[in-house]
């Protein structure tokens, strides 16, 4: 059984285009998906590819390498814009999962409850993908196309997640589950908020996960927030009756559809206020 550990992206791509392979990074979704069966080959382990690691600011875009782990994100020196993503990083599974699991792995696994997706949606993240024909970029909202489905072609490798620097905007993330650790969300929300000079909301980006096949941005609700003072009563008034277009939660063991919607609405209010507190703090 073939098990490749390339050290350069070119080697990885040529192996992939040659014989094809399953991509492996942190393994935290790869192995559970096997359901106790042995891994079928060939397998391409991406963790030795140096170009896929690390976080850096290039111009006005933050580049987070594909195999950057949640631990590395949680501990990275990043502006408050990333507070939501960092909160999400600390909510991913457990320390064990955060130490191994990668940001691109989370996106490529394309779970409706992927912790990384809502905060990255609010950051207007794009996915950088390398393939035999070169490098392309896709907005995250176009990259994940369905439950366990992405726009990555079999001969492509996600190389980085790109986030435009919108400082001094701030962000937050809230996850609701039935226990403290190792829990799949009932729902989760992320918010990115910018305030104007009068401390009114000038830019708002909201996303909700686990309430639809793919986590959704809520542009209509975002528009309702513009000009609002970031105080509980006012935010609640604006969010309270808003139509949460795009959310179509399921009822399952974790919660009913009605509850998910109700909880998402409440969490949106709290996440917006939490994001602003980060700005004040």
């Amino acid at each position: 059984m073939q098990f490749h550990r390339p050290e350069t992206l070119d080697d990885a791509l040529s192996l992939l285009s040659g014989e094809g392979a399953r991509l492996l990074a942190g393994g935290t979704d790869f192995y559970p998906s096997l359901m106790d069966e042995p891994a079928p080959g060939p397998i391409l382990d991406l963790r030795q590819v140096a170009a896929l690691r690390g976080i850096r600011l290039v111009g006005d875009v933050w580049r987070i390498g594909a195999t950057t782990t949640w631990r590395e994100i949680a501990r990275a020196d990043l502006p408050p814009l990333f507070d939501g993503l960092k909160l999400a990083a600390r909510e991913v599974g457990s320390i064990q999962i955060q130490n191994a699991g990668t940001i691109a792995g989370n996106l490529c696994n394309a779970s409706p409850a992927a912790d990384g997706v809502p905060p990255l949606l609010t950051l207007d993240a794009s996915v950088e993908i390398a393939g035999p024909d070169g490098v392309r970029q896709l907005p995250l909202c176009d990259f994940i196309t369905g439950v366990r489905q992405t726009a990555r072609r079999a001969d492509e490798i996600v190389t980085a997640v790109l986030v435009p620097d919108r400082s001094p905007a701030t962000s937050s993330f809230l996850k609701l589950g039935a226990r403290r650790y190792l829990v799949i969300s009932i729902t989760m929300v992320a918010a990115m908020i910018a305030l104007d000079e009068a401390d009114a909301i000038s830019d708002a980006r909201l996303a909700v996960g686990a309430c639809s096949a793919v986590a959704q941005r809520l542009p209509d609700v975002e528009a309702l927030l513009i000009g609002a003072a970031p105080r509980d009563g006012e935010i609640r008034a604006r969010i309270g009756g808003a139509d949460l277009v795009g959310l179509a939660p399921l009822s399952d063991v974790r919660g009913s559809a009605d509850y998910r919607l109700e909880a998402a609405r409440e969490l949106l209010v709290r996440a917006i206020l939490l994001a602003v507190q980060g700005q004040e703090g």
Partner: protein, 910 residues
């Protein structure tokens, strides 16, 4: 570019615990498997194979990761540290060895390597972590025994020196068998098979109910080069097993029809490297699904699953006393309600595992188990062998809680080893374990209780339906126990309780800590709150007013003249209760979005089998060279019987516990100490140990012709007897005999009486009682519940080892939290540990344990059983607290956020 291919590379090399190892392994193999099976690192435990439990946590290049989600090829050139290596070399690990022992942070020990390795990673970064840091660092490791609080204490206390002083009855000593658990040396069910053992996998039904037929099995065997395929036709004895006489109804392999999803129809045996990669969906079996019933309401609409159990009613239980219907008519206040619970999975972190080998004309089975003698007898019937031909050697058992009483893995490896004359092993996957082994019975209960104007209970009517699944297992025990216990530990002069166990196409419901009593308490205790509130009586006071006192008859008419300690339990909670009510009033006055509440509940549990003989036997002897050997057959599944039984024996014999060596459970070496179940070991086997110690002491004293007051010591092959300053020495070598110069064997069987047609009689020799308090905070908008504190008062009669008592209480409380707030097994839907949730280290609040010692007329030194009692009041106390906080009653468990929120929403709508 590094290219690894197992075909053309010599192997995968890395540093393992400081030494270079090179493993011939497929590079995509899970690191956990490679470490255990190829590098011999059996201290790496596998609980789920999916990153859900953390038992396999190792350090890879210094970072804690799950070895089951790491490819062995990914650590090539790196460093891997496991617990057994860390305790040799790492100062933090060494400190944790002591503090885990000191705090009894390991019970069964199966999660301990994962916990300690995670803790080492934390301590390397932060030498004095706070509680939140410990929780974050250990949040990825599940524990089902300890309730986590002792683990938090141990990590925060790492570096402390010394252990509690050892001693006999009453000493809060560390576990006798603790060191192996905290150093990774303990061997569990999957750790003991010889290297040449063949592997076995079981073929199971994907349907809840179906007829099936096999294709060409021999062709399949030849295609894969299997050693053996087993089906029902291969079972040499009766293809049937069970645990209750008259209710044995489960086949080892289904014949023609399966009655639940996960039921075994065949097994394949062969070399592990051949067996493990086989896609079992290729197995030649054709299924024809049949009409199924998954809930009791549907059970009448399908054929009877078992002949003679009409309408799929397995059995009923009944207790009647006085005139309950009339009493309720005359009551000042009557409350009633309907309550339900779902299947609860035991969730031990060690999946079932066993290996068997033929030794001459006998069969030896090494397995994790709670009931070695019952296992032996069950196997003998299946295999058509005399019981004397079977030896059961229990390994360390990584949690049981009732489900490891029944046969699971053992028959398959036993039959395969018998036929092939080769050692054969099997370990269930987590999915297999969840799908096929017993569960706690789902319950549907209606109850009506009435009280007079003074707040005294006048009568109660209880009806409970229990989903017993496809096979009886311990269902009859649940049906019988519940009516005896459904009153709670309260005077209920007029009472009727009816129960029914109903067959469905679900996994068999069996024994699980409490045998149905936790479910009945979830009806009775909320209704007690309703009564107290209706009468305007404080909820604690209402319970105390009705609590059984010495001399009061129970609902079966049994009278205890001593040792009924439930009033003392409530009394002991009162200061905390008053404090909590004040705190909550103050908090709620200034908070609107979150509200706090406190709940209280009582509980009781009769120790030992219901109205049945259930003796234990203990043997001990002193060898000619002066070693004191205790044959301790009460299987220690983490609860601590190895320590408790030895403490009792040491006190009875009158020597230091440090001089006692234990021979652990083994049907060839230890007499039958019964099963580890029904909170019976401390009480029943403890009494046998007391009697054995006393008899041995009597024999020794007679040897020296000294009085009962004499002191015994054993030094250098001689017994030293001292009395009134005089010493006598008896040389053991002069006494002759065989293995032992002097020995004793004693049995104890608790006095019980059968119940009459109205369920009246003395079903147990002793009840233990408890009262617990839960303080919670409810987020009204989200329905989320944060537990703030549990205060647990337990009358244990006499605490043989107070530290072990606390351990049992903490573990029971944690399971009660799971029952109340998150656990529900749905066949086919929650067959893993990320969909079936048990509490994590962040879900168990501080627990204050209050030990009441009211003594007991029968128990050893006054001790009662404890194991089951601990979780009985927890869930109702939490639900009562949620209602106190929010006004909302959740009566269909678990009280997940959506259900709590729905209950709050329906209140808002009113």
């Amino acid at each position: 570019m590094a290219l690894l291919d197992v075909d053309d590379l010599p192997g995968i090399s890395f540093q393992l615990n400081g030494a270079t190892v090179t493993l011939q392994a497929p590079p995509a193999e899970r690191l956990s498997n490679a470490l255990r099976e190829r590098a011999g690192a059996r201290d790496v435990k596998v609980g789920c194979n999916a990153g859900d439990c953390g038992a396999c946590t190792v350090l890879v290049d210094g970072l804690a990761v799950c070895a089951c989600t790491t490819a062995v090829g990914q650590v090539a050139g790196g460093t891997v540290e496991t617990l057994s290596g860390l305790v040799e070399a790492d100062p933090h690990a060494k400190a944790l060895v002591n503090s885990f022992q000191k705090h009894q942070a390991a019970q069964c020990g199966i999660c301990t390597p994962g916990m300690m390795v995670s803790a080492v990673a934390l301590l390397r970064e932060e030498e004095t972590p706070d509680e939140a840091e410990v929780q974050d660092a250990l949040g990825g490791v599940l524990c089902r025994c300890t309730g986590y609080r002792k683990i938090i204490d141990a990590v925060m206390d790492a570096g402390a020196t010394g252990l509690p002083e050892s001693g006999g009855v009453g000493a809060a000593m560390a576990r006798i068998d603790g060191l192996a658990k905290v150093t990774g040396r303990e061997l569990f069910g999957d750790d003991v098979a010889p290297a040449d053992a063949l592997a076995l996998r079981v073929i199971r039904s994907p349907h809840h109910r179906a007829r099936f037929s096999f294709g060409d099995l021999e062709a399949f065997r030849i295609k894969y080069g299997l050693d053996l395929i087993l089906t029902s036709g291969d079972v040499p004895g009766d293809n049937i097993f069970g645990v209750i006489p008259g209710f044995e109804d489960q086949p080892m392999f289904a014949k023609g029809e399966v009655r639940f999803r996960g039921e075994a129809v065949a097994a394949i045996v062969g070399d592990a490297e051949i067996i493990n990669p086989i896609d079992l969906s290729d197995f030649p079996v054709t299924w024809s699904p049949l009409a199924e019933a998954l809930v009791p309401a549907d059970a009448g609409s399908i054929d009877d699953l078992h002949e003679g159990r009409e309408g799929n009613i397995m059995c009923r239980g009944f207790v009647r006393r006085g005139e309950p219907e009339e009493a309720l008519q005359g009551a000042s206040v009557v409350v009633e309600g309907s309550f339900s619970t779902g299947f609860i999975e035991h969730g031990y972190i060690e999946p079932e595992a066993a290996f068997a080998e033929r030794v001459g004309d006998r069969l030896e089975v090494h397995c994790c188990t709670q009931a070695p003698y019952m296992n032996r007898d069950g196997l003998a019937r299946l295999l058509g062998l005399p019981t004397s031909s079977i030896r059961i050697v229990p390994t360390a058992t990584g949690g049981g809680f009732g489900s490891k009483l029944d046969l699971t893995t053992q028959p398959y490896v036993a039959l395969a080893a018998w036929k092939l004359n080769r050692p054969v092993r099997v370990t269930y996957t987590r999915t297999e374990s969840l799908a096929s082994t017993t569960k706690r019975h789902p319950s549907e209960i209606t109850m009506k209780i009435g009280a007079d104007a003074d707040g005294h209970i006048v009568g109660a009517v209880f009806d409970g339906v229990f989903n017993t699944g496809a096979y009886a297992s311990w269902g009859p025990t649940v049906a019988n126990r519940v009516p005896i216990h459904a009153s709670g530990p309260y005077r209920t002069p007029n009472y009727v309780a009816r129960s029914a166990g109903v067959h469905t196409n679900c996994p068999p419901s069996g024994a699980f800590r409490g045998f149905g009593v936790p479910q009945s308490a979830l009806a009775q205790e909320p209704l007690y709150d309703d009564l107290a509130n209706a009468l305007g009586v404080d909820r604690l006071e209402f319970r105390r007013r009705n609590a059984l006192r010495n001399g009061d008859p129970t609902v079966t008419g049994q009278v205890f003249e001593t040792g009924m300690g439930i009033v003392e339990c409530f009394d002991s909670l009162e200061p905390q209760w008053r404090r909590a009510l004040e705190d909550i009033t103050a908090f709620n006055a200034s908070n609107t979005a979150v509200k706090r509440g406190v709940g209280i509940a009582g509980g009781w549990y009769g120790c030992g089998n219901t109205s049945m003989s259930n003796p234990s036997t203990i043997k001990a002897g002193i060898t000619p060279d002066g070693r004191v050997i205790l044959h301790q057959g009460a299987v220690d599944i983490g609860q601590g019987s190895n320590t408790v039984i030895a403490q009792i024996f040491a006190t009875a014999l009158g020597i230091s516990i440090d001089k006692i060596e234990i021979i652990g459970a083994d049907t060839d070496l230890t007499p039958d100490a019964g099963k580890t179940s029904a909170s019976r070991q401390t009480f029943i086997t403890g009494n046998a140990a007391r009697l054995c110690g006393e008899t041995l002491r009597g024999k020794i004293l007679r040897l020296g012709n000294v009085s009962e007051a004499a002191q015994i010591d054993i030094v250098d092959g001689a017994i030293h007897l001292s009395e009134d300053g005089e010493q006598r020495v008896v040389a053991l070598s002069d006494l002759g005999g065989g293995d032992y110069a002097v020995e004793a064997t004693e049995s104890y069987d608790p006095p019980t009486l059968p119940l009459d047609e109205n369920g009246q009689g003395d079903p147990y020799a002793v009840f233990g009682t408890t009262a617990q308090m839960a303080e919670v905070e409810v987020d009204l908008a989200l329905g989320t519940v944060k537990l703030l504190k549990i205060t647990a008062a337990h009358d244990v009669g006499k605490a043989i080892n107070p530290l072990l008592v606390e351990g049992q209480v903490h573990g029971g409380v944690a399971q009660g939290i799971g029952l109340a707030m998150m656990e529900q097994f749905l066949p086919g839907r929650t067959e893993n540990l990320h969909d079936y949730l048990i509490p994590t280290i962040g879900d168990v609040p501080p627990i204050e344990t209050i030990i009441i010692e009211s003594g007991d007329a029968h128990g050893p030194y006054g001790a009662k059983g404890l194991g089951e009692h601990c979780l009985i009041p927890t869930a109702p106390a939490i639900l009562n607290a949620i209602k106190h906080a929010s006004g909302a009653r959740v009566s269909e468990l678990p009280a997940t956020p959506d259900k709590v929120r729905a209950a709050i929403r329906s209140l808002e709508a009113e």
